[in-house]
Symmetry: C2
Subunit: 510 residues, 2 copies
């Protein structure tokens, strides 16, 4: 036990950390990443030790913003530091590394320590890599899923059963949620959809919806919105639903890994947290998506369904075509506009409407609103008769947006440049990854008006000089950056129908 | 590319880090743990991104001490920030996670990125856990060992062959290096011993030797010392020998894991870096050591020998008894004194001298100085005839210490307390871990004079009130802390010869 004076250090958000002078640390027998208990009056927390030569002088302790705000510390203060043991969950993480199954109680301990920020990045990485290499049983996945949900906010909704959908990532332009939610809600079914923001994509559904209405709500506010309108399109991260998920993603992201079982639990924990009874999972398959092969798609489908069973949730999976963007728009405002256009009955890419109504149809059938095999037709009818648009406006209003908005009101970036075909031929390929990079270079997802509008579709014939796509940006500098990238990456491939001449067939002297 | 003003942030030593305001980060499309290139004039480095709300205002960049000192930045300056790709080694780390063998070139890339601080803790943890779970082939271990050595300083010694020894950890009081090195060097063999400091133990050999002489030298200074005296006992960490090792240990430590192959490579990289041709590995076996069972000891022995072969190094392993401390002293000064006492021919624990001369003997035989089977006898002779003491004093002098020192000059902590037997019986057990905790509570390894002196040995009969051990400290506060811990942990077990009465044999009515 030692008393130290406080120094405020605004660093390393998201974890309780303290900075101790190397001399004091040696004296106390502390190494970096050790745990200490910090107490002020009667409150105390466990924090992770960093050692420093000069940031904090001897006799002082540097506290991260999280620690200061926990204790509501201001001005000259002292805290009491006590040595403490490692969190119990480290033992369970080691058990996972050694290839053993963990119990429900052990997963609970791990998730509690993750959420309370008691584990360091090193320890969380060890857990995630343990799951990546050793996998887990479906029982284990159900424990982890439940504990991720239960150690966070849970929605309590009145109108049951509760419907939900999720699309696995990797396909730009996948704005189908903005059609599915109003269709399903218009049919009287409850669909409290939470979505994510972009990490590496051009925009998440939450980024798109935010063009039309606020998306950040507490769990109680979410319940209110859904009780009023049946539907919602909110940012999941705003309501502390399954908060461990973001912390796991934080260590997966730099390694560019997506452990199969972590992906399952991540999706299902959010469904479990909203109390979903029936869920459709969209598995976009294609070489640049998370599901590159049909085998991988089938494995996901099997595991999602099995995990759903353990959780008392009915799951259906659809494997969808993922080698091109959905619709023509990529970027928050462009996608919000395209979704509104579809709801307004305007001409949009038919494959976009087809995908959205196909998935909405499954939910309508499951909800008993449509007969088996007739869900998609009914979903399309909800668009045609304007009920989906009306419901979307109700949802926009309930979330605090302007219900009078129409597609033509959506502000799009004013700096624009068209990219033209350098030769004639057929559109044989879109690179999803390159399109995303260009949209991001143009400013998406932060600049809502930035993005790409495709003017061609796969298989289409183009002439030299035809417009391939248009880049939108909110700044000249970012537009230029995006154009340079587009010229370099060439995200649209055009080929002649004769793909290759074989020399043997050449006529000599020709 | 963006220009940002510099703000100095003294945090997170050991890695190039920058702190970017969240707004700027969003603008640049940067997430925490992304890489950026930072340039000043014509120099540039790759640094890892942290985002912050208030530590650095918009338009500023916070630079860690490492970054500032790399650029020699002072006062108001601007740096240029450019987005950059992830290090190549992340791909190879993923390959290891996926269970594949890596090539020599791939290990080289990983170690280079580790040493240049281009990898984050998350990525290094992923690598270490990949090795922990998936293991590696002996070929792979030889690649990693070589690359750990080659990406650091290497000793170039004149007098070959070069001899070396290493003891795996877990046994307190294991000061045998302080006898082995002078014996072997006195016999004319070259033994450039590098040792570590304590992380979790009461003291490393470097901490002990530091009581007698400085231990921090550059590789060139080490060569000079060894060329002069044949021997050396230096701190390995001071000369940047196999510097990746400490970085790997840094992520193993908080998880309390010691991946088998990382342990092999860690030991052998340091031997490879000093150019060792013949190495004896001491494997202390016992329930609180790194080698709990004979099977584990044999696996270590097989793998050390096989790895040695791949590296062109002859390795011999000895399995030693590790369930009690070596000698009677635990703690830097107490151990240095005990080693000097042994060299001076004074009465010390015979098992300590036996172990040291046994291992020294193997080296003498390998060096052709003693006939097969007669090495230990000759080693003891070097102690008896004072040549080992004379050599030790030469080494102390060459390292900058006082060669006139004798065991009675070594300063020991002045705050002392004896711990007595609470009952009579036989000493059946020492808890190494508890003894280490008590020594550390008393101030070891930082306070050189702190530690424990055992007054009894295993199997010895004691009466109630006999002295079991004595605690030494340099401060009253730490002495009290250590006494409290000793009373709680009871590190010495005393039992009667009747260990258990079995009820069936009881005489009723007795």
């Amino acid at each position: 036990m030692k008393k130290l004076k406080v120094k405020f250090c605004d660093i390393r958000e998201g974890r309780y950390e303290v900075f101790i002078n190397e001399e004091d640390a040696k004296d106390l027998g502390l190494n970096p990443n050790d745990r200490v208990k910090i107490s002020v009056d009667r409150k105390s927390i466990i924090a992770v030790v960093n050692t420093t030569k000069t940031l904090t002088p001897k006799g002082y302790i540097g506290l991260s913003r999280e620690v200061c705000s926990f204790f509501k510390l201001k001005g000259e203060r002292e805290v009491v530091l006590t040595l403490t043991e490692k969190p119990k969950s480290i033992e369970f993480i080691k058990k996972k590394l050694d290839g053993h199954e963990l119990t429900e109680q052990e997963y609970d301990t791990i998730v509690k320590d993750v959420v309370s920020r008691s584990l360091t990045e090193i320890e969380i990485t060890a857990f995630v890599i343990g799951v990546y290499i050793n996998g887990m049983s479906i029982e284990e996945a159900s424990y982890l899923t439940k504990k991720m949900a239960e150690n966070g906010e849970m929605l309590e909704l009145e109108k049951k059963p509760i419907f939900d959908k999720h699309s696995l990532g990797g396909v730009p332009g996948n704005k189908i949620t903005l059609l599915i939610v109003p269709i399903v809600a218009a049919a009287g079914l409850t669909i409290p959809k939470t979505s994510s923001r972009a990490i590496t994509s051009a925009c998440g559904t939450a980024d798109i919806m935010e063009v039309l209405a606020p998306v950040t709500f507490s769990a109680r506010e979410m319940e209110e919105i859904v009780n009023k309108t049946n539907g919602m399109i909110a940012w999941g991260g705003g309501a502390n639903l399954a908060p461990a998920d973001d912390i796991f993603i934080n260590v997966e992201y730099p390694l560019a890994i997506d452990p199969h079982y972590m992906a399952l639990c991540s999706v299902m924990a959010k469904k479990y947290a909203v109390g979903a009874n029936f869920v459709v999972i969209d598995l976009p398959m294609g070489k640049e998506t998370k599901v590159p092969t049909i085998e991988k798609a089938r494995k996901y489908a099997r595991d999602f369904i099995a995990l759903g069973e353990k959780l008392g949730m009915h799951v259906e999976c659809v494997i969808t075509y993922g080698e091109k963007p959905i619709g023509r728009a990529i970027g928050p405002a462009l996608e919000a506009r395209e979704a509104l256009q579809a709801l307004e009955g305007k001409e949009v890419a038919s494959s976009f409407v087809e995908k959205a109504t196909g998935i909405a149809g499954i939910l309508l059938e499951a909800g008993g609103v449509a007969k088996h095999g007739e869900g998609a037709k009914l979903a399309l009818e909800y668009i045609r008769n304007g009920k989906a648009l009306k419901k979307m406006k109700e949802i926009i209003e309930a979330q605090g947006g302007d219900p009078k908005i129409s597609s033509s009101d959506v502000p799009i970036g004013e700096y624009r440049e068209k990219v033209y075909a350098e030769r004639g031929g057929y559109i044989t390929e879109f690179s999803n990854k390159s399109l995303v990079k260009i949209a991001r270079a143009a400013g998406a997802p932060k600049d809502k008006g930035a993005g790409i509008l495709l003017h061609v579709s796969k298989g289409e014939r183009v002439k030299e000089g035809d417009i391939l796509f248009e880049i939108f940006s909110e700044s000249e500098y970012k537009l230029e950056r995006a154009i340079r990238l587009a010229n370099e990456l060439k995200p649209v491939t055009i080929e002649g129908m004769l793909l290759q001449r074989i020399p043997e067939y050449r006529i000599f002297g020709y």
